[in-house]
Symmetry: C2
Amino acid sequence: MAEKQLQNSDKMQRIIQLLSTQKAKLFRREYLDLHVHEQAQIFAELDQTLRSRLYRYLTAVEVGDMFDAIEEEPEEVVKYFQEMPISYAAKVIDEMYTDNAVDILAYAQNKDLTHYLLALPEERSAEIRSLLHYEDKTAGALMTTEYVDIFASQDISSAIKDIREEAADAELIYYAYVVTDDNELIGVVTLRDLLTNPEETLISEIMTDPVISVPVDEDQAEVARKVRDYNFVALPVIDYANKLVGIINVDDVIDVIDEENAGEYSGLAGVDTEETPEDPFRASLKRLPWLVILLFLGMSTTTLIDHYEGLISQASILAVFVSLITGTAGNAGTQSLAVAIRGLSDSEEERRSGWKTIISELSTGLLTGIVTGLTICVLVGLWKNNWILGSVIGVSLATAIIVATVAGSIIPLVMDKIGVDPAVASGPFISTLSDLTSVLIYFNIAHQFLNFFINA
Amino acid sequence: MAEKQLQNSDKMQRIIQLLSTQKAKLFRREYLDLHVHEQAQIFAELDQTLRSRLYRYLTAVEVGDMFDAIEEEPEEVVKYFQEMPISYAAKVIDEMYTDNAVDILAYAQNKDLTHYLLALPEERSAEIRSLLHYEDKTAGALMTTEYVDIFASQDISSAIKDIREEAADAELIYYAYVVTDDNELIGVVTLRDLLTNPEETLISEIMTDPVISVPVDEDQAEVARKVRDYNFVALPVIDYANKLVGIINVDDVIDVIDEENAGEYSGLAGVDTEETPEDPFRASLKRLPWLVILLFLGMSTTTLIDHYEGLISQASILAVFVSLITGTAGNAGTQSLAVAIRGLSDSEEERRSGWKTIISELSTGLLTGIVTGLTICVLVGLWKNNWILGSVIGVSLATAIIVATVAGSIIPLVMDKIGVDPAVASGPFISTLSDLTSVLIYFNIAHQFLNFFINA
């Protein structure tokens, strides 16, 4: 991705040139002048030789700041640590925000991880070790431990003094969380509150309580919803005893929202659009598994049609409408599926119950099925001047749409219940399943009226 | 949506009860104690009688704060203003953040709008009038004019004094934008910078420049990308002469990201999942247009198959494989389409050129087509013990996949070029188009080998 931006940016090309020609001082000046996001883009373009040189030209603190902005996958970034001397790597890790460092260290080999943790200051090492335990995609895995905490008994001027001191290390200083001696979360004040009230005001007088927070094992999708609904810049994370254990920042939440949306989207298409590489060979490897699996599933429909070959050979007109019926029912199923998957991304409280969804989709299926069925009945009746054929196609299509619509709403509910992510290739699955049921419905209905079609 | 949360919350039920029984004082105390997001959820549950009562119990300032958190569609919210006396409505609008007020007023009737603007303080009225001119889905339409600006020649203590004064009105005080006398944007400082440097430091010494900003006519998707890439809490908006005209906050950007993602997603399924109501009758009305349009498009495939009915009546085995070929090619086309649409959401610089995309998709289509074609050739060859039939199906499928894959990448590019949103029902379109080409390819190839299939 970064590749394209660099091609458009002479400045970035020149900086790489400075590194290549070993102009250490000039390189430092121009590189460090950039936003860390741009520094990280340049870094992604370097080969191993240039990266090693960069580690020599920059301090571990400077590299650590830049690593906070790296967008490559953590399993890639962890390899960079292996290129550095261990003490340098430890300093880079030390400088990074804890949540980012932990994301990457989760992919380190055990041996390396031990080395880094030993080289880190004891407190940092313990912090990282504790965060490494949290399950992926929970609040605990998203949170950082660099926040500002104050006491309710402080006054504003003393709180501001505390914030000033913690400002260099804290990832976010715009909210200060109010805790008891036991670290129980009891309130929150914003920097705005602190700046707009008299200096001698007590925190207890101005703090907001109760605080909106999330438990440490909360699902990341729920975290994203809370931040979005309440328009927070950060959200505190508490443990089972209401103790403050970390905060989650809005920028990490944006990544979660993107990730969750991409998952749904990829599932509808049967391809992981986020990870699809540009190289055609590797892109094919990503797409082929689903294509081939769906091909095998599609064979079940083929076998079923094969079963009715005798019927077709007697009335070949029947073959003409198979695609129309399977295609239209598939479209109806996909619509229903998309609505159901989106519904699953609503918060627990906002969701409709499963039964309510199914009954509502059944009614929707009935209505859309009848309208669409009547339409095709008229079309075919007029086209072939055969109203019995039209009626058979119409009734088959209506029934197939009703079944596909209900299936489209049930399948993600069931997958969600048994713990499978409904976003995995569910779009092509529903089409394939709906093909099967549509063919079954169609040929069974058609069979009853066979005499009317022979040589229709 | 709020309905379900309220059922789970006795507290919220009690507050509505207090309003119903005209307990003004108790109602005020408990209602105002809630977060505005929760206040807005309760408000959404009230009927017109209770809403009128609420306007009497609360000041316009309190209602204005709550209106900033309302999540209903602006065309709905604007109706609430009509329920209030004009001077009260104007005060509510005055209290709201300008960007939110403008979003809603964009749906007001001209007569009402004139009344509100006349009742507002002159400065506010001018601000709102100017923002109403910006095109929907641009930076101008997203931005707010309540920001903090300072001069480079100020020192930190004077800047903090300015921020304190503006804090009550500004939507975001964590960044202060540095401007010239002409309001040209030349730098930015964060509150963190101000708190961690000595009070006598000049702003010019610590400000970050140049500032990352967006032009006022920038597309909202590009704005969202910048905020996400740079992890900003807000992004300044400038006009053609580099003058600061507003800022965009991260919470508004989150809504944009959701909106853009939902658009892509809805397009893949041919249904607007965001606006699909729960009522089956209205849901059907939303889904039917695409179903029926696609049904008519599907009729073209049907007519084409009808054209080959003679072929089918001679070799009914051919009908057995139509669904498999159209279905699999459709899956391949949808994969390619999803990747292409996601690619369009990358920023201008990150995008691959159109030709590069097409050549890359052609290669991917070739590879996936050949592998899938070989697979089905073997399957059918073994199943029917007819390797010529297997080869015809294999070659047809491979060709159909190649065509569908390339079409899937070209169609969104073309739609984007001619200014049509590729997210509109593009998923079902590609399936339908690919059905047509697949059938054409299949029957033409099959026709050449007809003698081998008769009574196969």
